[in-house]
């Protein structure tokens, strides 16, 4: 199996999906001539033509809103929003329109659009480029949300998202674009939406995370295991909506000790949903409160401060150790 960066896996998948289905099209700011500001869409325009790979005017609501109409025409739009922070300009179209059109038609007609957007900190990007805003979209029923952490999952989830009959928000970790590299299955590889992945097995405690934080948590698990001998697992959610409640609960029941780690601010972050699911379904197995590791209840800070803001492996490890030490 070839080794790819996440960026390569995404680009490869876009090529594959456009080759597979001539209705698939890519639209967004700077996606065609430039191939995307991160080169995720490089080569697509030359290969598939300017009708199917389109540089859009600087208007996110139009990009997303037009995607709904394109989908109803039978096209399969894959829209890129340059940074997740700028999906806010299209929030009414994502939350109020794409997510709701199926319910509005009594279940009859959905919107098979995918919205790709990079997010997350660690690269000292300017304001609104780094915030982890997934929870703002997690309460948009009708929308699905995936956030891969590996190149293989980037490939498999993007293929699934594009083929899914409902709108999917596909979140790409900025700091994982080039830093995360792994083996990507050849051929037609898909990963079903709604299935978590055990990235590291552990019997004493499990850390639940998604996207770039999975790697932070893997380091934390190794740190704790090295220091204490405790067996610490990591569960990568991969998909936030639909959520793999079964795997989460199984891990919680097995270990009795759970840490949920996110990059977002704590208040109303998606981690709170995971904590709630755990305590609703595994309450009697819990030997310690479910710990939550998060950013802070502030906007993502300017570059000079980001290392203090983004939870690092030490903060996650400290939470794991507290959780392991808590009396049953």
């Amino acid at each position: 199996m070839p080794v790819m960066t996440m960026l390569e896996a995404i680009r490869h998948t876009l090529h594959e999906e456009m080759a597979r289905d001539e209705r698939v099209m890519v639209l967004g700011q700077d996606v065609a001539t430039l191939g995307g500001v991160f080169r995720a869409t490089e080569g697509l325009r030359d290969r598939f033509g300017a009708e199917r790979v389109v540089d859009m005017p600087l208007a996110e609501a139009a990009i997303v809103g037009a995607s709904l109409g394109l989908a109803w025409s039978g096209m399969v739009p894959v829209a890129e929003i340059q940074f997740l922070g700028f999906t806010q300009q299209a929030f009414h179209q994502v939350a109020g329109q794409l997510a709701r059109i199926r319910a509005r038609t009594g279940g009859d007609r959905g919107c098979a659009a995918t919205i790709r957007a990079p997010f997350g900190g660690g690269v000292r990007a300017p304001e609104l480029h780094s915030d982890s805003l997934e929870a703002q979209f997690a309460q948009c029923p009708g929308l699905k949300i995936v956030a891969p952490a590996s190149a293989a999952d980037a490939r498999g989830l993007l293929a699934s998202a594009i083929r899914d009959p409902d709108p999917v928000l596909y979140l790409e970790p900025l700091r994982g674009y080039r830093a995360v590299k792994d083996e990507v299955p050849e051929g037609d590889h898909t990963v079903p939406l709604g299935q978590a992945r055990e990235v590291r097995h552990g019997d004493d405690c499990v850390i639940i995370a998604w996207s770039a934080m999975v790697h932070t948590c893997l380091r934390a698990a190794a740190e704790v295991e090295a220091a204490t001998g405790a067996s610490v697992g990591v569960l990568d959610l991969r998909s936030l909506v639909p959520l793999d409640v079964e795997s989460i609960v199984a891990a919680a029941v097995r270990t009795g000790r759970v840490v949920v780690a996110q990059e977002a601010p704590p208040t109303a972050g998606f981690a709170s949903e995971v904590v709630t699911v755990v305590q609703e379904n595994a309450f009697y197995s819990l030997e310690a409160p479910v710990a939550r590791v998060s950013g802070f209840d502030t906007p993502y800070p300017p570059g000079m401060l980001e290392e203090h803001w983004v939870p690092d492996s030490h903060r996650v490890a400290a939470a794991v150790r507290r959780t392991l030490e808590a009396r049953a």
């Binding site: 809103g65 394109l70 096209m75 739009p77 329109q97 319910a103 038609t105 009594g106």
Partner: protein, 343 residues
């Protein structure tokens, strides 16, 4: 149609296949009649809020008449559907379902090329542009007719979509019904622009202002825009100047803000009375036809209402309509719902 026996006066060379004048009058009369019946149903507490079409029938019916329902699409806001009978018998039934709060309201039968009623002002405009653009990409022949109001023209969605339509030359007609009001806000409170049609300049598309109470003028302008769009010559913004003769909705009290003399002025220009006068003068219309038309309209409404009332309602259908397949969590929630219903 047989009952109404429309006058056969041809409308315009510009609009091939366009209905005859009598048929336009019939459609306009039905629109108002049905709107009034909806209003009365609301007053009886049988359905929820409705938005009367009174005064805007020429704008809606005239523009729809320029379209080919077999290949074209209509993308309405919320006031127009009652005038979109041309797009299929089902539209009336679904309009009743909509105001009844029935979940199948937006579930038009296949072949009815109408978008579900849009409550979010202007949000449908980017959809219409995307649909039109996609139809061209898919080499389908149709043109999309998108309705919105003078108020809607202030939303970013209108402008972004119009600008995009200009860039991709989408075969779309942006049809702005300037009825003088956005709830209580008059046009001068909405924009300092000279006209809504003039806003086309900002998108680099064609703009045209038309007397929205003259059904033939509306039809011709729309037919011309449709021809251009279909020929790949790009989108048109049409402003139909008309007047909302009734309240904003059944929940509104327009006497608080509509100047009575202004209303009187526009009542004198009632698009239905105007067309009827013309047809009567030309000998193409009389009281008997009118009576037959109204009886037919009532029969159709009764039938549609009966069909709407008979439309089954599953109380857990919302579990099934959020996604193509309910998520596992939704299946679990279906059980919670079942427990609650069982109590």
């Amino acid at each position: 149609m047989a009952d109404a026996r429309p006058a056969a006066t041809p409308v315009s060379a510009d609009a091939e296949n366009a209905p005859a004048l009598g048929e336009l009058l019939a459609e306009m009369t039905r629109a108002r009649h049905w709107s009034t019946r909806l209003f009365n149903l609301q007053r009886q507490g049988r359905i929820g809020t409705t938005a009367p079409i009174d005064g805007e029938e020429a704008a809606v019916v005239g523009s729809a008449a320029a379209m080919d329902p077999a290949v074209d699409w209509a993308v309405p806001q919320y006031r127009e559907p009652v005038g979109l009978g041309r797009f299929g018998e089902a539209v009336l039934r679904h309009t009743i379902l909509y105001h009844s709060g029935h979940p199948d309201a937006g579930r038009y039968p296949a072949g009815v090329h109408v978008f579900p009623t849009q409550i979010s002002i202007a949000a449908q405009i980017p959809h219409a542009v995307g649909l039109a653009w996609g139809m061209r990409l898919r080499r389908q022949p149709g043109v999309v007719l998108c309705y919105f109001g003078d108020g809607a023209s202030s939303e970013g969605d209108f402008y972004e979509a119009a600008n995009l339509a200009g860039v991709v030359r989408a075969p779309v007609i942006l049809f702005c019904i300037n009825n003088g009001w956005a709830i209580s806000t008059p046009v001068r409170g909405q924009t300092a622009a000279d006209s809504f049609a003039g806003k086309a300049a900002a998108a680099g598309i064609a703009g045209e202002r038309v007397d929205g109470n003259d059904v033939v003028a509306v039809l011709e302008a729309t037919a011309a825009a449709r021809r251009r769009a279909a020929a790949g010559e790009g989108p048109t913004l049409i402003e139909a100047v008309t007047y909302r003769m009734g309240p904003h909705t059944t929940a509104d009290d327009p006497t608080r803000y509509v100047p009575p003399d202004e209303l009187e002025l526009w009542r004198a220009r009632d698009p239905i009375a105007r067309l009827r006068r013309r047809l009567e003068e030309e000998g193409g219309w009389d009281d008997a036809r009118q009576r037959a038309l109204e009886e037919d309209a009532d029969r159709r409404f009764d039938a549609a209402l009966a069909a709407a009332d008979a439309t089954p309602l599953r109380t857990d259908c919302f579990i099934d309509s959020a996604y193509a397949q309910p998520t596992p969590e939704l299946e679990r929630q279906r059980r919670i719902l079942g427990d609650a219903e069982a109590r």
